[in-house]
């Protein structure tokens, strides 16, 4: 394992200088054909190293403990052993956790988008005085370690009767995610075509109507990307839910999985089935939105 991961990336680099010389264009001569297969093999080896842990997990999620101790982790299970999945599903009450994760992430992604849009409208289109500082503040807020906020937040939640409440987590993540959203959207709206705004103003549209009828339709694709990002980021969050959600009926999937660790009842199939079932929602979400998502990650980087 260790050697594959460490050495594989080096092979494309060392193999390529030979293959990358002149006349190796697509449809060009085939004389240097061997080198490109080496490079491909290197890149595929890295991909396999990345996939290996997940393949091992999938294999052992449906393998009986007896077979695991006899044939080891790499064997193909001779029959589908579903006790691990059933065991995990019942132990953590998976449907409840699934709903909790979904509910928190969905509310956060929608409200955080709305908040980002309002902020960015004032900053990017309204050109509020001191907007440079406001954007900088939002950017810095994004970098803060959550540990520097958690104890006061934990205390505040208790004082207002929101301890162990999903609403405390929702409020916190709405603000944290919208800090990034504001930063990104403000720079997008900073370059908004002024002609459109002028035309709307001539038509007698007020600021509220301009926001919803002119600005919103144009930035909708960016908002979609933000919404997907917020959803998946909130879904994957660990630290704040770990501290704020203390009972079984409020916890999210990652917390439920982590809290089963070290449990003596957790044999190999249960652990792997737990990991598998817990990653499936994220994986399905990723496959459905893969295109939008890669665009979103890129958009975040360039801005």
């Amino acid at each position: 394992m260790t050697t594959t991961v460490r050495n594989a990336p080096a092979s494309p680099a060392t193999a390529s200088p030979g293959g990358g010389t002149r006349a190796s264009r697509p449809g060009g001569r085939h004389r240097r054909g061997a080198a490109r297969w080496f490079v491909l093999a290197g890149a595929v080896a890295v991909a396999l190293a990345v996939l290996a842990p997940m393949i091992i997990m999938a294999l052992n999620a449906v393998k009986s403990p007896a077979e695991y101790s006899q044939d080891g982790p790499l064997s193909i299970p001779s029959e589908l052993y579903l006790d691990g999945i059933v065991n995990f599903w019942q132990r953590v009450d998976f449907l409840v956790k699934l709903w909790n994760s979904f509910f928190i992430s969905a509310v956060v992604s929608v409200v955080a988008c709305l908040l980002s849009l309002l902020n960015a409208y004032a900053i990017g289109i309204g050109r509020i005085k001191g907007r440079m500082w406001i954007v900088l503040l939002f950017l810095l807020a994004n970098m803060l370690p959550q540990e520097a906020l958690i104890y006061p937040l934990f205390d505040m939640a208790r004082q207002v009767g929101l301890s162990n409440s999903q609403w405390s987590v929702i409020i916190i993540f709405t603000v944290i995610q919208s800090a990034f959203g504001t930063y990104l959207l403000a720079s997008v709206l900073g370059t908004f075509p002024p002609a459109l705004l002028e035309a709307a103003a001539l038509d007698g549209a007020g600021r509220w109507r301009v926001l919803w009828q002119v600005v919103f339709p144009i930035v909708r694709p960016t908002l979609m990307v933000l919404m997907i990002l917020f959803f998946i980021w909130t879904w994957n969050e660990f630290f704040i839910p770990l501290v704020m959600l203390t009972t079984n009926d409020t916890q999210t999937i990652p917390i439920a999985l982590a809290s089963l660790q070290g449990d003596r009842m957790m044999d190999a199939p249960t652990t792997n089935a737990g990991a598998l079932v817990s990653l499936l929602p994220a994986l399905i979400f990723f496959l459905v939105f893969q295109r939008t998502l890669t665009r979103g990650v890129t958009a975040g980087a360039v801005k």
């Binding site: 770990l242 982590a258 994986l283 360039v302």
Partner: protein, 310 residues
């Protein structure tokens, strides 16, 4: 009323009517981030067991104690290891992988091959970090883990206790983090490469420059802005890392994988030393902001130098 043309003539600044749009975000920002951040610094000046226990003012004592606390220094030393695993290795390997996928494999085997490989590298990034941690925790488990089962099958009689031995725990955690992190720079860099003018590569190729020369002379300088962004975001993430440590090792064995965020969590919620935990979190915040400002300043300087040179 708000038309840009009439804005200049009015005495009231044109931005004022937009202020209400900032109010909900502003209020929430102050309540959820501003106030807690300031309160945390305030708490760090007290000895407090948390909850309803009384706060006892001790001034900077928590910070002097930190200065002499070996575990605190270890945690920041381990942060350097986290930066190696989450920034340096993934960025360097990611650059090579992205360039190979984009301008070598992509051109010889078609874009589909490149994008399938890219998606595969990116896969660990979408897993909830706790799930990745639980999976690896099992794989690396000394007795029943997959890795040691495989090693025993290969005839290794006494395979290492990956996460349980102070000598191997940190490298093992680093390996997991490299696995998690590798796809992020690849995706960013491949997108960046699409920006680069293909004629640059063609001209270099006609001049007889090999792949490695083109990589160094064109690819690296052209995507410098993205490299800075990746360095900044990953460095901040490495300094903040919590989930993988919590799930893999809980900072152990013998503090060999302790990181600042986990150390402050430990003081907050395990040792009930809230003031001390707040002091650790405050120091971590300052370190992160300083590092981020330094990286941003370096980026600004590099951009300026480029302008002068160009």
């Amino acid at each position: 009323m708000s038309a840009p043309t009439t804005r200049a003539r009015r005495r009231r600044p044109g931005w004022l009517p937009y202020l209400p749009y900032l109010i909900p975000g502003g209020v929430l920002f102050v309540v959820v981030i501003g106030y807690p951040l300031v309160t945390n610094v305030y708490i760090s000046l007290f000895s407090w067991r948390g909850g309803l226990a009384p706060l006892e003012w001790i001034g900077a004592d928590n910070y002097t104690e930190l200065w002499h606390d070996a575990a605190f220094w270890t945690s920041f030393q381990n942060s350097v290891a986290m930066i190696v695993a989450m920034v340096i290795v993934p960025t360097a390997v990611g650059l090579v992988l992205a360039a190979v996928l984009f301008d070598y494999l992509g051109r010889r085997f078609g874009g589909r091959v490149a994008s399938v490989l890219r998606a595969t590298y990116y896969l660990p990034q979408i897993l909830p970090v706790a799930v990745a941690g639980v999976l690896w925790n099992w794989i690396l488990n000394a007795q029943t883990g997959a890795l040691n089962e495989i090693l025993r099958g290969l005839g290794v009689t006494d395979p290492p206790n990956w996460l349980g031995d102070p000598a191997s725990a940190l490298p093992s955690v680093m390996l997991v983090l490299i696995w998690v992190q590798i796809g992020y720079p690849v995706v960013i860099f491949m997108a960046a490469l699409q920006r680069v003018d293909p004629e640059l590569y063609e001209a270099a190729e006609l001049d007889g420059a090999g792949w490695w020369r083109r990589f160094r002379a064109i690819t690296i300088p052209q995507i410098r802005p993205e490299t800075f962004v990746v360095t900044l975001t990953c460095t901040v993430a490495a300094l903040k890392v919590f989930g993988p440590i919590y799930v893999l090792t809980r900072g152990g064995p013998e503090s060999s994988t302790l990181v600042p965020s986990y150390y402050s969590y430990l003081n907050f919620f395990d040792k009930s030393r809230v003031g001390y935990g707040a002091a650790i979190a405050t120091v971590l915040t300052v370190v992160i902001i300083v590092v981020a400002v330094v990286i941003l300043a370096l980026q600004a300087r590099a951009e300026r130098r480029e302008e002068v040179a160009g």
